[in-house]
Point group: C2
Chain length 273, copies 2
């Protein structure tokens, strides 16, 4: 199956291209059914409200799902403020441009079962409460952070903000358990509030906290997760140079968070450890 793209091209003065003035969603679609769809729509609607862009009607957002095919597909929705790239001032009546792409997807099941090695990134995220939580198109920080490693052993990189608080990984949210309590970084200053994170916060007593990386040394378990990949137990955390800082063995507690998260995505909820 080839990637399938909706409405192909984008003119030069589209504000998404000119300024990153827009939003996106990447949605796991299983046998034609978008997973966590309400959460994706809610985040997109919230983003439109913050950026003061009209939200396209639901049927327009669901049009790519009319014939996505069997099995697993990732739908990428990309919504920009539309034309008007000749100055930062947004048009008074913007006409948003919706683009989409469907791509075949196979999750990495080994990462579910065996867990992943991750590292701290050197880059620190800028603090910008006005954009915090949104999945907007200004992602150069993520690109720079993801450029910090190229070895295939390292699955993800952890990001702190410029005041050294844990935020997220480059494309996943972060969770840990400390003294029996589940915690995840508060995302009021920067970071992307993932839809799987939202689902987990609804089902489980997970506290949103401000924490420095030091808390991970005390953590009994650490996970990364997003709505496309599912949940990865973290088995090793390295420093930004690749030097090992901590190791964790996979335990029942890892599997419990995975079971809850994976249930909302249709991914396996039991592992033969």
């Amino acid at each position: 199956m080839e990637a399938d793209a909706g409405m192909g091209e984008t003119p030069l003065d589209d504000r998404g291209l000119a300024y990153g003035d827009g939003l996106f969603e990447t949605v796991l679609v299983r046998d034609g059914r978008p997973q966590l769809w309400e959460a994706h729509l809610a985040r997109l609607a919230h983003g439109c409200q913050v950026l003061r862009m009209p939200l396209p009607p639901r049927d327009a957002l669901e049009r790519p799902l009319t014939n996505p095919g069997e099995g697993l597909v990732v739908l990428k929705l990309l919504l920009t403020r539309g034309d008007g790239g000749r100055g930062y001032a947004p048009p008074e009546a913007p006409v948003p441009r919706l683009r989409w792409q469907l791509s075949p997807f196979v999750p990495d099941a080994r990462r579910w079962t065996r867990g992943v090695r991750i590292r701290h990134c050197r880059l620190q995220l800028g603090i910008q409460p006005a954009l915090a939580g949104l999945k907007h198109l200004n992602r150069l920080e993520n690109v720079l952070a993801r450029s910090e490693w190229s070895d295939t052993h390292t699955a993800e990189g952890l990001l702190c903000d410029s005041e050294d608080r844990l935020v997220e990984a480059t494309c996943m949210n972060l969770f840990w358990q400390r003294e029996g309590r589940l915690e995840t970084p508060r995302l009021t200053r920067c970071g992307v509030a993932g839809t799987l994170r939202a689902a987990l916060l609804e089902c489980l007593p997970i506290a949103e906290v401000d924490a420095t990386p030091a808390v991970l040394a005390d953590a009994e378990a650490v996970w990364l997760g997003n709505s496309v990949q599912g949940i990865w137990p973290v088995t090793r955390l390295d420093g930004p140079g690749g030097d090992m800082l901590h190791r964790w063995s996979i335990q029942a507690v890892h599997r419990r968070l995975q079971a809850t998260g994976h249930a909302s995505l249709g991914y396996p909820t039991r592992f033969d450890d």
Copy 2:
């Protein structure tokens, strides 16, 4: 004269559209000659180096200038990392995509002669040294800041960083004179290092400083400038709600900085005050 666009459209998985992974330049072109061209090329080259993108050869960057027409035109160059928008990791061998657009331009001469009223913005820029100074495509902060006012009396908005240091205006650099000394914000944490600013720093003893907005209360003169609009004396500074904070009358010192800046752009250097 209509706007003239180079190589029109951009595919959905262009990293400029997907992540704002790219750079741009807006260049004043006078009778076919790009003003401050070396400074624009230098900033673009520096941006490519920081983002680890190949810089297109000079003749490719100068192709839009082969027949730009008479009079004043603004050339917008938009350079993205090219295809590969399916993950933050940049391709190992990116093929940058260069787009351009030529648009007729008429500067606002009244703003040169009479000066402008500006205001403080509420939005504070995130601190991100890894991207500071670059004219990259992640400009949502500028868009949000520029959305803070819509009255036509207000020409620009001043931006501080999240630690309340002056940085710039939404699309111009900031200069002031205090106790006879010319100063401009240091741009090592955020902000765009303008080419006109670079030209002024070369010609004049302007100190790059960390300063809070309080310094403007003591300033004898305040200016905004960029390489397209030239230099505007600031005659009134408002708070974020539009309440007046300071006024300045235009004096010889204003004209002297304008003369230096405008000389590098071919704009008027003498004003009949």
